[in-house]
Amino acid sequence: MTSISKAEKAYIQSSLLSDPPLRADGRGLIDFRTIALESGIAPIANGSARVSIGRNVQDGGGGTEVVAAAKLEVESIGDGEGVDGGRVVCSVSCSPTAYPLLSPNALDDLQHDMTSVLNATLSHPTIRPKNLGILPGRKSWLLNLDVIVFSDAGNIFDAIFMAARAALWDTKVPKTKSVQYRAKKDDRSDATQAMDIDVDEVTYAGSALDTRQTIEVADFELPDYWDEGEPLDGKQTWPVCLTLNLLPTLHFLDATLQEEASVPLKLLVFYTFPSDATPLLRGMRLLGTGVSDLVQVKSLLKDGEKYARNVWAALEGKLKDEDLRRNQKARERFLNR
């Protein structure tokens, strides 16, 4: 966390409270810095994205930079920790280059805190995607969402959640086929006989009309497919985060490190805007040493919803553009080469 002198803190606070409000880079109170987003940056991961806020246009450095990647692994229900229908586990790790002044212990604590905020929002049972199951009651997908913070120039939570949403939007779940192994009934004497693999249809040695035996699917396989699988369900359910930095009489968005250190309280709100329903509040956190009251919280939630809607619309437009760029346009370029 940046250490800031009392004089600088007072300077930043009084310029924000002046009329018109002034910020160091000349932005308005609700203006964001430029946000750059790229998806599919880690080809080995099932879904990935990189978000940077406030990058310098000249050299591409500076600013808050976050990379999120989703990786799927299989876990068993019952013996392991699996849940029927799959689950999502998130983790945030901060590169020491992002916080060069923090000791390893303090860095660990910061990682823990960010992980718990991310987990509490994205791993909640009500947000679980529907296509993470493999074999009902036996095997399911565990989606590990790992977020790495490479550099922090303020507004880290917005960046983390944007990257998480983009990575989950980009995630493709491999198609699985249930499989049952069955020995050939007739030649029991010949132990070297290979086992028959029946895929989804069962060929009985006896009559095909024998419906007394129920099929117990015991395992699964990954069929050879030309793409990486089907997109992860729930593109409309992953929330966007908005950090409202609070001074007693006003709030502002997208704070730089110094502005964050000068403000005693911030409110994180997580909103989703499903296309045909009312906006849902998926989480809310008050952080800092200041206090608020119900009246302020009520007006902040209303304003927060407005800002979050803008962020949501912009993000969705960009994600659709990314989809086009990587699939359709890439194919066109390949065809026209």
Binding site: D108, D109, H112, D113, T115, S116, A120, T121, H124, P125, T126, I127, L267, T272, T278, P279, L280, L281, R282, G283, M284, R285, L286, L287, G288, T289, G290, V291, S292, D293, L294, V297, K298, L301, K302, E305
Partner: protein
């Protein structure tokens, strides 16, 4: 050499062990989420300050299945050499091995769950303490969870215990902190959910406030709900916190009278 999980001071059981599965575990979750009290009622609170004589201040809180002991040491000299103009508040939470259904290893040092509860309680009480009166000092709050009935209950009861213990220690505060949790089922709000209720709910809200100053110190909402429902929930929690505040004040007064 891999760090052995064996603790030489204890008799270590087998490396992998699972809790026994009882017949009634399969009973309908409906039964577990039914409650015998009204949706707006919280479970009765037993709060006793002055439990740990060694500490500067202490408190023990018990609400049905949540039992938490809290000890406050301070203000005492900061171990670190960096100068801090304001005092530091350090909240440490520890689960006893027998507090949850699955045994928690006693030597687990940095557990994510312990830390997240500690951070929430810290957020709830830090704005109530007059830290500017204690430069270069630290106030240590140690919370031990003896029995655990859901994380929301732990955070709410832990904040209450911490605030009572701080008052018992005679540390100057701006007000007592009261905290209440709630679970949402569709459009219904149920205050003070048990673990089964919270797990079956659509979302939970934990609110910590200072009723004396009519200010909110901590909100933690997770799950899904509309903004209006969440505000309604917070308003109900806030009203309940005013009642809880009088319980805390009462228990502190009674304790002083006995001395």
């Amino acid at each position: 050499m891999a760090q052995s999980a064996n603790d030489r001071r204890r008799i270590n059981g087998p490396e992998e062990s699972f809790p026994p599965v009882f017949d009634d575990d399969d009973e309908d979750t409906q039964l577990k989420t039914q409650r015998s009290r009204a949706p707006g009622d919280i479970r009765p609170i037993f709060l006793q300050p002055g439990l740990i004589s060694q500490a500067n201040g202490s408190a023990y809180i018990e609400t049905e299945k949540t039992k938490i002991a809290c000890a406050v040491y301070g203000p005492r000299q900061s171990k670190t050499t960096t100068y801090s103009e304001k005092g530091r508040l350090n909240v440490e939470v520890k689960f006893t091995p027998f507090s949850c259904t699955r045994r928690r290893a006693p030597m687990r040092l940095k557990d994510a769950e312990d830390r997240s509860i500690g951070v929430s309680i810290h957020q709830a009480i830090v704005s109530s303490i007059r830290l500017e009166l204690f430069p270069k000092s630290t106030i240590d709050v140690f919370i031990t969870i003896i029995e655990n009935d859901g994380i929301e209950g732990c955070i709410a009861s832990g904040s209450l215990a911490a605030s009572t213990a701080l008052a018992d220690a005679g540390i100057e505060m701006l007000g007592l902190v009261a905290s209440c949790s709630a679970a949402i089922f569709g459009d219904d709000i149920r205050l003070d959910p048990s673990e089964a209720e919270a797990r079956a709910s659509d979302g939970t809200v934990i609110l910590a406030c200072m009723p004396a100053l009519d200010s909110i110190t901590s909100i933690w909402q997770s799950g899904q709900m509309s903004a209006n429902l969440s505000l309604k929930c917070m308003r109900q929690c806030h009203e309940r916190c005013i009642d809880i505040h009088s319980i805390v004040a009462q228990s502190l007064l009674e304790h002083r009278k006995i001395d």
